[in-house]
Amino acid sequence: MVVWALAKKELRLLLRDRMAVVVLLGMPLVFILLWGLMLGENFGQKNADEKLRVFLVDLDQGEGLSPGVPWSKEVYKDLNETAGIRVEYLPGLDEAERQIRKHKVAAVLVFRPDFSDRINKCSFLADGINPFHRDGVYLDRIDAELLKDPKQPGAAAIIDQVAQVSLLRVVLPWMIGKAFERLSEPEFIELLGKRMELPGPLGPVTLGRLLDGYALGDPKRAADLRQKVGKGVQDALKEQFKKYDLTGKTWATLTRSTDEAPGEAAPAATEGPHWSDFGAQRYQQLVPSFTVMFPFFLAMVVGWVFVTERRQGTLKRLRFAPVSRAQILAGKLLPCFVLSMGLAAFLLLAGRLIFQMSWGPASWPLWEQVGWLLPVVTATSFASMGLALLVAAVSRSEIQVALFGALPVLVMALVSGCILPREMMTGSAQALSWFTPHGWALAAYRELLGDDPQYVPDLWVVAQSCGVLTAFGAGFLGLAWWLLRLD
C-alpha cells in the first residue's frame, strides 16, 4: 500500500512533465529513423538486396572453353550463379583504384589481359602452370589481381576467399579434364609402357615390349594397341569414379551437379538507401539496439528524482513517516521499472508497425513471439532499474547524476553494440560487450528477432541472457543498497 502510494506519486510527477514524456518516447524513434537513413544499405549487410557485392575489372583478351569467350567470363558466370553474391563490373582499372582509394569498395578482382592464356596453360604436367598453393590459387600466376582497401581488411578478406573459391571451381575441373584427356595420348602410353613391368616366362617385361610383341613388329598395329590401352585406362577410371565426369572441364559437369539450381541472378541494384525502405534488415538490428539503450537512460531520471527529493526536503518527510528504507526505494524504483517496460514495449510495437520489424520467426504464433520477448524486456528493465538506483546512490547533485548516469550508460551502449554493430568490432571489443547488460540484452533480441521461416532461435541463449541480465540487476541493486544514504 505504502509502496504503491510512493510509486503512484513518482509516476504522477514524471508524467506531469509532458514534454519529457514526448522526448522520452519520441527520441528513440528519431534515432532509429536517422540511423537507418544514414547507414542505409551499409548497415549490417552490404547492399539493400542483402547480397555480397563482388566487383570485377575484365581486361582479359584471350579465349577459354568456348570460342570468343574468355576464361574471365567463366569466373563471372560462376560468381554470378553463387547464392548470396552479386557481381558488378567496374569500367576499368582506374575506376577500380579510385573506388578503393575512396573506401567505397573493399576489394576488386582484376583479370588482366593474359588471364585466359594463363588458364589455358594451367596443367598438372611439369611443363604447365601450377596455379595452386596451400591456401588456394596464385593470382599472379594466372595474371589476375585482387585490389584491396587496407581500411576494410575484414570485408576484403571475405571477397578474397569468395574469389579463390570461384577460381578453384573454374581452374581445377579444367585441369582435371585436360589431364584425363592425356591418358589416352601416345606419350602417356609410352611412359606407361616403359614403367609398367609385368611377369613373363623369362622374367619381368615392360608393357611396351609386351604390346610390341603382340603387334608382331607392325608399328601401326603397335600404335593401335597402345591407343586401346589408353582408352581402356580412361574407361576404367570413368567407371571407377562414375560419380564424377572426369572429362568435364567445368565444375558443373565434373560434379554432375546439373540437377541443382544455380544461385539466383542478382536483381538490378537499387541506387542508394531509401528512407522508406522500412522492411529492410537494418531495422531488425536498429530497433532492438535502441530498445536496449534508451531504457538505461532512465538511470538519470531516477538519479534526478532522488536529488530533487533531497533538495526540496521531502525525503526528510518520507523518513518521518512510518515507512522503511526498503519501501522508499521500492516506491521510487517501481515507476522506473514500469517506465522502462513501457518504453521497450512502445519501441518494439513501433518497430513492428512503422519499421515492419518482425518479432520472431514467421512460423511462431504471435502469442509465442510475445511470450519470449516479455522475459527479455522484463530482465532488461530490471537491470536498468538496478543501474538507476546505483546512480541515485552515488549522486549528490544534478551534475553528478549527469556524470555518473550519462557517461557509463553511453560507454556501455557503445561497447555493447547498441550504437555500432558488434559484427563490425574487433574480437577483443566484442568480448568487452559481455561485461555490459546491454550486450546480453542485444544477444537475446538478436536471437529472437528474425523473420526467416527456417530459422529457429536457440531459446537457451535467450534464457541465459535473461538470467545474466537479472544477475546484473541484482548486483546493481545490492551495491546501491549498500551505498545509498537517505539522510
Binding site: 526540496q312 518521518f320 513517516a321 515507512v323
Partner: protein, 315 residues
C-alpha cells in the same frame, strides 16, 4: 501525571561539535511546550531526534514510555512533524500532497479524502486545493507544510520554526490553528527564535543555547526571575532627582552611560512596573522635570535569555 514525552540526558555530537549537551525535560500530554533559542542553538537537532530522524549520541527519548528511534514504526504514526525547511512537492496540488502524505500513514479511501478536506479547511487552503504548490506564496506553503503534519491526526506535533518567512495573515492563521489543535488535546512542541510567539502561545517553555537547556519552566515563573524596567530620559540629571528616584521602594536605580543623545537616561528595575510608574510620574511632576521620554518594559523571555546567557536572543 506521567510524562507523555520524556527527554533524558540527551547528547548529540558531530565530531568535536556538541550539538546537544545533556538536554533533559518532559512534556505532559495535551501541553503546548515552547522551545526558545537563537539560530544554531540545537532546536532542529533536538526535533530531529524527537521525531526519530536522527539517533542521539547518548541519552534517550521516550514517548508514552516507548523509546523513540528504536525502529518502532508504530510510534511514528503518533508524531507529526512540520520541519523548518518546506517539504512539499511543488508539481503536485495541495490536495495531492496531503493525500500522498496521508497514504504514507496508512490512511485511504473516503476517510482520507474527508481528512484532507478538513486539513485544507484548517489551514485555509480549500480554495487553492487543486492548484500546484509551486504557485503558492510563502505563507501558503507554510500553512500547507503544517497541514501535511496534521493529516494523520498525530498525538504529538513537532513544529520547527513554523512562521519563518511568513506574512502576518498566515502567521495569525498558524497561531490560531496551533491553539485549536492544542485545545483539542494535541501535544505540541513549538520551537522558535521569536520570543513573542513562544511567550504568547506556550504556557511552558524551555530555553536552549549552544546545545544546553539553560532554563525550563512555566513562563510566568521564568519571568518572575526578572524585574520590570522603567527607562527615563531627561535633559539634566539633578542630585535631587537622583535622590528621589533612588528612594522609590522595591526598586533599584541604574544610570545608563552617556550617549550621543542629549541628557541622561536612568533605569529603574522594579517588581511592580505599574505602581512604580505612578510614583515616578509624581516625582517628576513635583520636581517639575522636563521629560524627554519615558519607557516601560515588562519582563519577557528575551530579557530572560539575556539574563541567563549574557547574549541577545537575536545575536
Amino acid at each position: 501525571m506521567a510524562a507523555f514525552l520524556e527527554v533524558v540526558d540527551l547528547r548529540k555530537n558531530y565530531g568535536p561539535v556538541h550539538a546537544l549537551n545533556s538536554v533533559g525535560f518532559s512534556v505532559r500530554e495535551g501541553e503546548l511546550f515552547g522551545l526558545l533559542g537563537p539560530n544554531g542553538a540545537g532546536k532542529t537537532t533536538l526535533l530531529s531526534i524527537l521525531s526519530g530522524l536522527l539517533g542521539p549520541t547518548a541519552g534517550e527519548v521516550r514517548l508514552e514510555g516507548r523509546r523513540v528511534g528504536s525502529g518502532d514504526r508504530g510510534l511514528r504514526r503518533l508524531i507529526g512533524v512540520a520541519p523548518q525547511e518546506l517539504a512539499l512537492y511543488g508539481d503536485l496540488t495541495a490536495r495531492e500532497n496531503l493525500h500522498f502524505f496521508g497514504e504514507l500513514y496508512g490512511l485511504g479511501g473516503a476517510a482520507l479524502r474527508g481528512r484532507v478536506d478538513k486539513v485544507l479547511a484548517a489551514v485555509a487552503l480549500t480554495d487553492r486545493a487543486d492548484a500546484r504548490v509551486h504557485t503558492f506564496s510563502g505563507g501558503m506553503k507554510r500553512r500547507l507544510n503544517l497541514g501535511a503534519a496534521l493529516v494523520h491526526e498525530p498525538r504529538l506535533l513537532l513544529l520547527d520554526e513554523p512562521t519563518v518567512g511568513v506574512d502576518p495573515q498566515s502567521r495569525n492563521h498558524i497561531f490560531e490553528e496551533v491553539r485549536r489543535l492544542n485545545a483539542a488535546g494535541v501535544t505540541i512542541l513549538y520551537t522558535s527564535h521569536y520570543m513573542e510567539e513562544v511567550q504568547a502561545l506556550c504556557p511552558r517553555v524551555g530555553v536552549i543555547d549552544h546545545g544546553r537547556l539553560v532554563a525550563c519552566g512555566e513562563v510566568a515563573d521564568l519571568l518572575r526571575r526578572l524585574d520590570g524596567l522603567i527607562r527615563i530620559h531627561v535633559p539634566r540629571l539633578t542630585p535631587e532627582l537622583r535622590e528621589r528616584l533612588a528612594g522609590v521602594p522595591d526598586c533599584t536605580l541604574g544610570e545608563r552611560p552617556p550617549s550621543e543623545e542629549e541628557g541622561a537616561t536612568l533605569e529603574l528595575n522594579c517588581r511592580d512596573v505599574k505602581s512604580t510608574l505612578v510614583r515616578v510620574v509624581t516625582i517628576l511632576n513635583e520636581l517639575k522635570v522636563e521629560l524627554i521620554s519615558l519607557e516601560t518594559e515588562e519582563p519577557n523571555l528575551e530579557r530572560v535569555f539575556l539574563h541567563l546567557t549574557g547574549r541577545d536572543l537575536r545575536d
